[in-house]
């Protein structure tokens, strides 16, 4: 395995800082949480940038915690994929934090409960993306799920409570399936380190069972059809900033683990049946999700269902990447880039919708006539982010679709190309269903509460980034492909499906 064993503090700081912030914000409540936010965000960005620089110089970064090193200790590790995910988290997280400052301005009571949970969730995400240990990944996943559920029930009404419980049960079941798989693998190979496991893993039936348990558990957490039932209520009933980070970031963690495990640890177990099957589930999710999104009455439920479709897209990565060694790099870059652009765009959409809801108290789509006159910025952000969700240029979503289409056609799998293209049209249908209402002559709203400017601006900035990802894709993609064991592994013939 290439790369260096790093002693630089950047990797652990990315995990310690948010956890520390969580403890402090709980300890001190509302007092000085702005300065805490400023300090922690600065720290995280500084560490991340330093880490990226180290990575560019030295490639893959290993960090043996406590100096023990795997297999006795736990290793942290940063490759291109981890960095992409960390960057995504930092970007989306920063703007959601700013948005939350405005969102909870009038609601101290929820604000003081939001921040500790959100900081721990941020820490959990960074921990997932940096961990190189199967059991440690389980702990980070639990940290993630519990903080996510805590944020869902923050709304406190019966809907969000029920949704939160549904989410909690699904997440717990998923974790146990994952842990059972890990238990089997540990029993078979006596190690928990990803890299050692990658070297040892053989696709014998027992190990394949373990891998499939792990996969099902993570599919449940990623909400891939038919295991998506928990997502729409949870993402639809939560508070706007929470929905944004659930749809944008949380589901990406388990998807990241699936990519990591299948294309680094279990590639030898990749079979045509599995990849085509999981791709078909994705395809169903794309169309069924779009259909349901189109028929929602409430704006946030529409967006939540749109997340189900986008998750479906993500899983097209598997058949495209496993099909041939030539299509693998394009497919994996495309899949990851889709995850990143969806995070940014979907967060922007939820934040914009949240602003509209807070201002007008209207959750029904057919009552949004001319909302643009009251909230031009939010509406504009919604539209811009919508472009990325439809996969139209110039946007990150388009670049991702371009790469995935390339992979599909270069591996001769035209049916996935069809899904990609038709799915884009389906998404356009439900997004324009919202946008077209805004050209109707404006109506007067019963309630009208002005919101702090930071809210629409945060949404707009994220939407702008979603579009910028479509014009400045060269650098992130190059970063993704340098020294990434995953992509290198995938482009080796070993992963060609039998």
């Amino acid at each position: 395995m290439t790369g260096i064993s790093s002693a630089a503090p950047w990797i652990p700081l990315l995990i310690l800082l948010p956890l520390m912030a969580g403890a402090l914000s709980f300890l001190f409540g509302p007092r000085g949480h702005r300065s805490l936010l400023a300090a922690t965000m600065t720290g995280i960005w500084f560490s991340l940038i330093r880490l990226i620089l180290d990575f560019e110089n030295a490639g893959l970064q290993h960090y043996p915690i406590g100096g023990w090193g795997a297999p006795l200790g736990i290793d942290l590790r940063a490759d291109g994929l981890s960095l992409a995910m960390l960057g995504m988290t930092a970007t989306v997280g920063s703007f959601i934090s700013l948005y939350a400052l405005g969102y909870f301005a009038g609601d101290e009571n929820r604000g003081i409960r939001f921040w500790p949970l959100w900081w721990l969730l941020w820490g959990a995400l960074n921990a997932v993306f940096l961990s190189a240990d199967l059991f440690n990944l389980y702990v980070t996943l639990e940290l993630l799920s519990l903080s996510a559920v805590g944020l869902v029930v923050l709304a406190g009404d019966r809907d969000s409570l029920a949704a939160g419980l549904r989410y909690l049960l699904a997440a717990l079941a998923g974790s146990l399936a994952y842990l059972m798989g890990v238990a089997l693998l540990y029993g078979a190979y006596g190690t928990l380190s990803l890299e050692r496991m990658a070297g040892l893993f053989r696709p014998e039936p027992a190990n394949t069972l373990a891998a499939s348990l792990i996969t099902v558990g993570l599919m449940l957490k990623t909400a891939l059809f038919p295991l998506h039932f928990w997502l729409p209520p949870a993402h639809g009933s939560a508070l706007a900033p929470v929905s944004a980070l659930l749809s944008g970031l949380v589901i990406k963690a388990s998807f990241y683990m699936l990519l990591r495990l299948w294309f680094e640890v279990f590639p030898s177990a990749l079979t045509e049946v599995f990849t085509q099957g999981i791709g078909s589930l994705g395809a169903i999710a794309v169309f069924a999700g779009a259909w349901l999104a189109f028929h929602q009455e409430k704006l946030k439920m529409l967006i939540a269902w749109s997340t189900v479709t986008q998750v479906g897209y993500l899983f097209l990565t598997f058949p495209l990447a496993a099909a041939s060694s030539t299509s693998a790099p394009a497919a994996l870059s495309g899949g990851v880039y889709l995850a990143v652009s969806h995070a940014v765009a979907k967060a922007a959409v939820f934040l914009a919708a949240g602003a509209m809801l807070k201002v007008t108290d209207e959750d029904r789509i057919d009552r949004l006539e001319g909302v643009g006159r009251h909230l031009p910025i939010s509406l504009f952000a919604f539209a811009m982010a919508g472009v990325s969700l439809m996969g139209l240029p110039p946007s990150g979503g388009f670049i991702a679709k371009w790469l995935l289409l390339n992979a599909a056609l270069s591996s001769g799998q035209w049916w996935w190309a069809a899904v990609l293209v038709l799915g884009g049209l389906a998404s356009a249908a439900y997004i324009f269903r919202v946008l077209r209402r805004c050209f109707l002559p404006p109506r007067e709203y019963a309630a009208f509460h002005p919101v702090p400017l930071v809210m629409p601006l945060a949404a707009l900035s994220l939407a702008g980034i979603a579009l910028a990802l479509g014009l400045a894709a060269a650098y992130p993609l190059r970063l993704l492909q340098t020294g990434a064991p995953l992509l290198l592994e995938a482009s080796a013939p070993s992963t060609v499906a039998p």
């Binding site: 300890l27 406590g66 949970l117 903080s147 029930v153 709304a155 029993g187 027992a206 190990n207 373990a210």
Partner: protein, 245 residues
């Protein structure tokens, strides 16, 4: 309803059987590791700072897991506090059972509980025991005192409670981060300091674990939920919806 449901039951049963049989077959067929961590654990026990191997794994080799795990524990309480209805408790907090016998007994038993917890904590270094056991026992004492009404319920945790809830995570984070300042790695203790460091961490953890478990018990039940009249749910639900926007 049941018509829809019927199949689910059979499918669940079938899946359970498949799962059970498949897994049993798997653990029999599973290849055996040509290497185990046991030797490694023993080999580095000297440097680990404790004599009990499990404690060594928990707080040194894989201390990072434990660090995240204490965060998970804290999350349970944060989550519970997240959906507690705002505003002061509607019903004055009455002790469920204030019989003098119970009160006297609890006053006698609590010191013993604390003593036992202290022993467990100290014992953890060389034999079964440690922060979690000690914390759990202490939490038991807390629950007892709550049930006898000796300690009141709370609306939102006061400063002292907050401190005891996060001290475990806080101290552990600080200890974990300290080596970074002298250029060594996260959670990398010098052998000499290890024992002391681990004791500090364990003590802080004990306090927090006790506080967290007890708070989870007390905090989950705001006083006003205690009695449950049929009319109540609807009414309180109304209040709830009004309460949140």
């Amino acid at each position: 309803m049941s018509a829809v449901y019927g199949p689910i039951r059979q499918i669940a049963a079938a899946l359970a059987w498949i799962l059970g049989i498949g897994l049993s077959a798997a653990i029999v067929a599973l290849s055996r590791p040509d290497f185990g961590l046991a030797e490694l654990v023993e080999a580095h026990l000297e440097e680990s700072g404790v004599r009990h191997p499990v404690t060594a794994v928990l707080l040194n080799y894989r201390g990072y897991d434990t660090l995240l795990e204490i965060a998970v524990l804290l999350l349970a309480v944060l989550g519970i506090l997240a959906f507690r209805p705002p505003g002061p408790a509607s019903i004055p907090d009455a002790a469920p059972d204030s019989s003098p016998v119970l009160a006297a007994l609890s006053r006698l038993i609590v010191p013993l509980i604390v003593l036992a917890a202290g022993y467990l904590l100290w014992a953890g270094a060389h034999r079964p025991g440690g922060a979690f056991q000690a914390g759990a026992v202490l939490a038991g004492g807390g629950v007892l005192l709550r049930l006898t009404g000796t300690i009141p319920s709370f609306e939102s945790p006061n400063a002292w409670l907050r401190v005891s809830l996060v001290v475990g995570l806080g101290v552990f984070l600080a200890v974990a981060a300290l080596p970074l300042f002298e250029g060594s790695r996260l959670l990398e203790y010098r052998t000499a300091e290890a024992a002391m460091v681990i004791l500090v961490v364990e003590s802080a953890l004990t306090v927090s674990i006790a506080a967290i478990l007890a708070t989870a018990f007390i905090g989950a039940a705001p006083p006003r939920i205690r009695c449950m009249s049929p009319s109540r749910p609807a009414h309180s639900a109304e209040g709830e919806r009004a309460g949140q926007s």
